[in-house]
Symmetry: D2
Subunit: 334 residues, 4 copies
């Protein structure tokens, strides 16, 4: 970490700061220039509160030289992590997974039907919401525990592992048979929840917050890993920008950037990012081209509800077609 | 709510959609133009999933005409809400409060000293962090329950009501003697936490998420009120933008905008927004000029730690000086 | 266009507004609800100042139903536009172009060497900056007119058409032999410059402003077309967000969105968006998967300057490799 | 400037870079750590292309230690600049100016009437648009040269200096009698226009671009000053964020930040930032509290057009009331 002191800092003030830093077991290298004085902090700077340091009156700015994340850091773990789902499916290190299913679990028939359809079309994991985070308290909040039960029925019927969202740490016991626990974008910095799932050994799919930096995403993954759980999958799902034609802006360049920074696999969710079905296939294909380790996509199979045909969900046929193209693209990028 | 259908929508498709909407107990007014068809939805549209509707293939766009929030809405509650803190302090409806104190509770001596200093300088409420949300799992996470105990000692010593952050719903019992429960920016959409504090009758200070829209902030307040707790105070603390000279961008125009949309009081926190002590007085003064119902500011009193003089905290003297100016500005804006 | 009037608007106020709108040759349909009154404006609303209307005291909000752009609108021109470059190269409507070359033109040898190298590697158009927009007045501003002369030498040597940026309308005469005139992101709303290039019949590559909405991009294209020049190519080059790991955030979902809104071709520039060479191949591949009509990429060939090996430019070998992969991806997405 | 080299950079690569930097007349201090190597660049780094340096393969990141701007920099010019307008009005260094007038010049009667009204209400400068930058080519583009003539008539009638926007460098001759030339937000990085007004000695009001950083704003001011014109006034007018309740987000913390970085005066335009008349008085008052050197506000006086009463313009009465409050606030902040 480097701290640049303001022009006009007195030697006394600088010494005061240096003593304070040394108390944190850091070595401090002082290099004085004509216009600025630079402190180089050597040692374990992950404990230094960068914002506090930056807010000091004599400090012009602070810059990390080494990243504040450790266990997720590729520098200390150069090989790609491969996350194993229930001894069936692998994600990362060249293994690619299609995670598909409906937005919400509605009925047993619905979820089993969709599960069979997405399996036939090539999905490796079934997704479906039981606990749903909703902006409005008056909106449908999901079937809850009953939704989990229906997902288990679909798992039994098809053999597909299940990925579904946990919103509340008191519900963790209910997730014993869930194969991948999803932490949603709104809870990416719900640190107590992260610690709790960090104590399990289950695969965790951690979605990027709607306005989170990649460093914040990695620090949240670090929370999980620091509790002992190494099975973390990162998920890009669109960020908030000023543009309003799409629901969010899918940030695909984060895929190769994250692959440089961390050994953890990166999955992309184009359904939530774009909010429109016609945008899902091109953006899923683009995600595959960018090097993603998996794609999470909404698929439904509800012939009785013609309405849904236009929602952000693909039909099983569209999903099968997408799978075929993604396979070719992955081959082209090898 | 208005739904604009795409050019080329067939009468059958439109009728299908209309029947679906009518099942939600809505009246639907159809007005067909040459280029577009417009559906006007009349009734309780707060239950309609606007994103789902918007994602339908035949729908060009959707626009809410009436706001999705009810209990927080000024239309249905024209008079300003006045939140009473412990029968001592009022916020809103012309009542203004200065909430001051250190970033974190450290020791009993520290918190009592600061409490006495901010009280003497004009503060009505003491703030101080016991449970601290930290980006890094390796950073100091606050004194926790012990921090709450020290805050109570400061309350006893000075009589000042206490405002401190709750991060985890399982800790709620520990907050029995806290006067204002703060929900931090990162938990603004932790809906289960909102529901839980909604079941209490304590004043809740709800901070705007770092990239939350005003409507999302109001919907989160609605979560609390829909559980029966009417004592909600909104707090602007800076939003995330591309600008990097300040930690966040303080959005002061939200103060008069929120006053138009809701009857709830609005407090501004310039310390976290700007991250630099020298920016706090001008931005606190600007907050008062914009019509804020209170200001939340970091103040410390630690003569043994000369370092802290430059942090985002004001000294008690600077805080007293600010109070004097804010008083004049509030008078000028009456 | 729809205008929603505020609750409490008097009939007199509404009539006043309606009369004002009718003077603009618009038909106004009034529909009064219990909570709101809605005005539907029928006719040529492209002349209505939406911001002025929105700022009126009695107006709650305004929404366009038909887009404000006409000549660029796919609704009125359903077939893809195919832009012909110098009778040699086509862009759009299934025709794809690779536009490659160095960031800046430096010397005759340099530009001819790169031109030969990119041609051999599969480029259809040579790019290179002669007039360079620079944030600092002290930075190298490009070779100017001399740079244009060197580009012509490279064109003569290779037969490749030239694409280069125009910053100042008084320089237009110098661009007589340039094949594609580029309008840079900073000048996307330099309306007088747009009108000026609209009076030519040359292909114009219009870059999206760093924080421009897609609608603003299309309105700027409309400026060019409204002066009679139909040869407009849109170019996505990254937008400004809070994320700092990449220089800008490449918004690839704009490709299928723009293809829905307009008949004009869409090209993607991953070099400027990402600012790092290692991110260019995955993002160029992703752009092809998203349906782009072309890719604009920095390539250099400067064995004497080992330094440049790491800049945002690809080597000709990397570029040839990318071309091969892009071809397969385009095939997969057909 | 500091360049941090990547872990794994070979001594040869580092030496190569160092030689390249030394050719630019820079001293380079090398400090090698276990994990990173840091280069400190001493000398005139304003010519170093930071983006190019940052894009090099061996470079982890680059940080400026001294700002890239010189003539606008308070470090080299500690005293506030005071800009004199036509020997009548001063802005900066404790001098405050109210710049008021209509959005567009429409007729001679209109502009003279408004000029008289704002003068009576306390304005020091008359603003009014003759050349109008409009998103749509079909919208009213202003009266142009005729508008300038009408502004001169208003100047003659009232003695108020005139501030109006220049969009096109070929129009500069028409602005001979204009007292403050405004460069609009969309042209903040139209560098050729900046150079051209830099060759005059007229006061230039430079508006911050809609998504410009403060550093970019200062670099654009540097363009003007580097051509010899020291009369630059900076203007904050709202930035683009994800929030949609206001047209833009007024960034008031930029006022004290800019006062720290530069000696140039800072004016705030709350009318364009918010887009609604009811938000103008609180935000203008907040601007005064934040330390602004002037306020630019839309005022109209058009009793025949009841409609306009609700636009983003204030009436002369509202403007006079605002002036009175601003005076008290400025006194309180002294």
């Amino acid at each position: 970490m480097i701290a640049i002191l303001k022009h006009g800092t007195t030697p006394d003030q600088a010494q005061h700061l240096i003593q304070w830093l040394k108390k944190m077991d850091l070595d401090v290298h002082l290099s004085e220039g004509k216009e600025v004085t630079i402190l180089g902090l050597i040692g374990d700077t992950s404990r230094v509160d960068m914002e506090l340091l930056n807010s000091l009156e004599i400090v012009e700015s602070v810059k990390r030289v080494s990243e504040p994340f450790k266990q997720v850091n590729r520098k200390f773990h150069p090989k790609d992590s491969v996350i194993e789902i229930n001894d069936q499916v692998k994600i990362g290190g060249g293994h690619f997974a299609m995670i598909a299913g409906p937005c919400s679990v509605e009925t047993e028939d619905q979820i089993i039907e969709v599960a069979q359809a997405v399996k036939a079309a090539g999905a490796q994991v079934l997704r479906g919401g039981a606990f749903k985070p909703r902006t409005s308290p008056y909106a449908f909040q999901g079937l809850g525990a009953e939704g989990l039960r229906l997902l288990m029925a679909a798992k039994q019927a098809t053999g597909l592992p299940i990925c579904t969202e946990l919103m509340n740490l008191v519900h963790l016991d209910l997730f014993a048979d869930v194969d991948i626990i999803q932490i949603g974008a709104r809870n990416m910095q719900n640190f107590d929840l992260l610690k709790e799932v960090g104590k399990t050994r289950k695969p965790i799919l951690l979605k990027r917050g709607i306005a989170s930096t990649l460093q914040e995403l990695l620090m949240s993954a670090e929370y999980i890993m620091s509790e002992g759980n190494e099975n973390v999958i990162l998920c890009e799902r669109g960020i908030r920008t000023y543009e309003t034609y799409t629901r969010n802006t899918l940030d695909l360049s984060c895929v190769p950037v994250l692959h440089g920074l961390t050994h953890l696999p990166v999955v992309v969710d184009p359904s939530h990012a774009t909010g429109k079905a016609y945008l899902v296939p091109p953006m899923a294909a683009a995600a595959a081209a960018s090097g993603a380790d998996g794609i999470m996509v909404e698929v439904h199979n509800n012939p009785s509800c013609a309405l849904c045909d236009g929602a952000q969900s693909l039909t099983p046929e569209q999903f099968a077609d997408l799978n075929r193209r993604v396979e070719i693209i992955r081959e082209a990028m090898r």
